[in-house]
Symmetry: C2
Subunit: 457 residues, 2 copies
């Protein structure tokens, strides 16, 4: 076997520094925003008992898993999602956890399926859950966190939109108007496809599902309501629909939309009756984030699944959450020009030496990189700097200063025989190109002010 033939396995990625910088940019935003919203990070094993994945999804899931056995012949599988692990962890310690449980995680997940655009065999998924808190407050909270992370990554209300629905409320509305209990599965099937089809496609769908004329009229009105923006005040179709719904249903929908408005999400969010989410386990509120131009698959999705923890052997605990994958998100950020060309870390300081021996440069570089601690070594009082230097043998200061500029450093420190004989070094501000000679004992203070100035600029 010639070893050069090795490639990353199908559907997986190599993260060279530029790709890794993008991944870091995304993961850091997810983590930072989750913490700001009061969520705590958790994680579990990369693989779990194969049986754990059957609890929620049944035996069919097995063909979509990477599964294997350990030396004790236990059946294990790489996690296809985090939710079963979350449910297991909560079920195991339910009594001892502070309520509500507000957790997030950023696991790598695995699917043994055919790779395609936006779907890989290995991907990273941000998971957010509130467990132990029923009702619209927690629903709004997770939706707001989802939106805020996308804002933090530079997306605006013109780049993406969030549609929300409520399976229980909409069921009541359907039953009270034009759907019989026996026809509910058909109704959800039709709703799910409503916005993906053109006029002809919808007519064919109604025919295939044996819709009566009054049903067709209602579905067309729902279709218009969503197309009109899904806000009662702007959509005559939605107004007409809601006029026939039970009062408690319209009140709950209006209240939730006004909760989203309070959180500054009025422009972004719309009530979208067609969002029903495939997974059978959602029990109430559901939502999806997607590209505003509509040419991408869902960016994130979630909702309320109040029977989840019970299903995994824990107590009955209400739960709401969502997941967002890195692959579709990165495509969206790129398509909307929201990724900087270069996300690699920039140096603070670049050290240049034209001395014959390395010891003085080694000492300075090492000293500048190392954090300074307080006396009893309990606290970092001055964090170390990101310091780079050249590996080339040249003493050509012009060339070395070019390398310094390319590193993104704010300041260059130059160790040369002349200045060193006076115990000094030259410090060059790489933004305004000014140069000063300072004592080597003062150099940390000098570069510190240059770095602080450049950070403000």
């Amino acid at each position: 076997m010639t070893t050069a033939a090795f490639q990353a396995p199908k559907g997986t990625r190599d993260f060279y520094p530029p790709e890794m910088a993008v991944r870091r940019h995304i993961e850091d935003a997810w983590r930072r925003i989750s913490i700001r919203h009061g969520f705590l990070e958790v994680d579990g094993p990369t693989f779990e008992s194969l049986d754990l994945y059957k609890v929620k999804s049944g035996d069919e899931i097995v063909s979509q898993l990477f599964s294997f056995t350990d030396r004790g012949e236990r059946d294990l599988a790489l996690r296809p999602e985090f939710t079963p692990t979350l449910a297991r962890m909560i079920a195991q310690r339910a009594a001892g956890l502070p309520r509500p449980v507000k957790w997030f995680s950023i696991p790598r997940c695995y699917r043994a399926e055919q790779p395609q655009k936006g779907r890989l065999r290995e991907f990273i998924q941000w998971n957010v859950d509130v467990v132990g808190e029923a009702g619209p407050r927690a629903d709004g909270e997770v939706l707001n966190l989802c939106a805020d992370a996308l804002f933090e990554l530079g997306l605006t209300t013109t780049d993406f939109r969030i549609g929300w629905n409520h399976r229980e409320l909409i069921t009541q509305a359907l039953l009270a108007t034009f759907v019989s209990a026996g026809r509910l599965p058909d109704a959800f099937y039709i709703l799910d496809r409503l916005q993906k089809l053109d006029d002809r496609g919808r007519r064919e769908l109604y025919a295939a599902r044996n819709c009566a004329p009054t049903e067709m009229t209602h579905y067309e009105m729902i279709h218009s309501a969503i197309a009109e923006g899904g806000r009662p005040d702007d959509s005559p179709s939605l107004q007409r629909l809601m006029a026939a719904w039970p009062q408690e249903v319209t009140a709950a929908i209006t209240a939730f939309q006004s909760r989203l408005d309070s959180m500054g999400l009025a422009e972004l969010c719309r009530f979208d009756i067609s969002i029903v989410r495939g997974l059978a386990y959602y029990t109430g509120f559901v939502f999806e984030a997607a590209d505003a131009r509509g040419d991408n698959r869902a960016l994130a999705g979630g909702g309320r699944y109040d029977r989840l923890i019970e299903t995994f052997g824990g107590p009955a605990l209400p739960a709401v959450g969502f997941g967002m994958g890195d692959v579709v998100l990165e495509i969206l950020l790129r398509d909307h020009g929201r990724l900087k060309d270069n996300l690699l870390p920039r140096a603070d300081i670049f050290v240049i030496s034209t001395l014959d021996t390395p010891d003085k440069a080694d000492r300075l570089i090492s000293d500048l990189r190392r954090s300074q601690w307080n006396q009893d070594h309990t606290l970092i009082v001055h964090p170390g700097y990101h310091v780079q230097t050249s590996y080339r043998a040249t003493k050509n200061i012009g060339k070395l200063l070019q390398e310094a500029a390319a590193s993104g450093a704010a300041a260059a420190i130059i160790l040369a025989p002349d200045e060193m004989s006076r115990g000094n070094v030259k410090v060059k501000n790489l933004f305004d190109r000014t140069e000063t000679e300072v004592s080597i004992t003062d150099v940390r203070q000098t570069v510190r002010s240059i770095i602080q100035m450049s950070a403000r600029a």
Copy 2:
């Protein structure tokens, strides 16, 4: 199957928020310090072709791997270490990468072996490599990075030590003094065990390996040299040994130790002839970090392996690097009291509301959490805050202020009917317990100065 029976698989860990905070603390330090030292982060797939792992380690490795097949019947395995992936990635793009390649990674790795203290089936390993740069400068650089990360995590020179050796130099020294070429494998075998045995154990070892009296004398002198601290200036035994070594060997050893001294590592590092590292692929410099109390297995280890990239089908490129696992490191940090009790993130602000409707509190909380952008939406000018609030139904401000204090927040904002009727809120500084009433439009500025003051305190 009763679902409550599910546990994390053997040898893996659940990371609840406190455990995850420790992992984050460690990973963040690794990442921060790597970047400061000019390294770029990379990652690869969690699994690779099974054959890739045989290149370096032969067929025996297979029994220590979690292996499986994908739908295309390809043999894959969970990575037991990162080095084969690194070598593959460099071999694939060797021509296009800037030299030297300075990369780090923080992958999860997997070993299908019996779990024991300090060894799990799933662990996290920090990997650092310099590729394309031969010689002691890069050797010193990776050792210094290893030390600096341990300093950054709060460890001091009394907590850990680093021993270094050089396989090529020590081979020359042995051959020039008391070891014949045919006895070299025995010599390395003996050196590797020298510091792990008491007087009697060493005598038995010498006998088992048929050592002549002059060999025994030399090994005992080496044993003393290491016990005396491994610095020529302090160790009479080392001085006697080195007096008989070829001049270029002693010069190289002295020069490398003085390079370490320049980097401020004099106290920490010692030349340790017994460090030979098991892996056959090391070609020169080797080192290990370990608990200074000597009661733990190696914390980190590495060295130079100049044939690595070639072995994986790439060009001949010199390389030096090391790995450090999270499991042993966490034990060491705990044993030396270098982990804070609570590493969970602290809130900046806690919002309390005694109003009847949630909209005003929702709006304020959402606004404080969200970053503020410049006008053309290219830059965050004011990052959002970590804001928490209570989920309890109570309006008892005393109890809510206790909850605020427990969150670690610097400031509490209280929305109450009286103040709100004047368009105001109360802001409580939770450090000095002072309280002020401010207009709701000024509240961001007020809490900002409290947070800045508390950060300096």
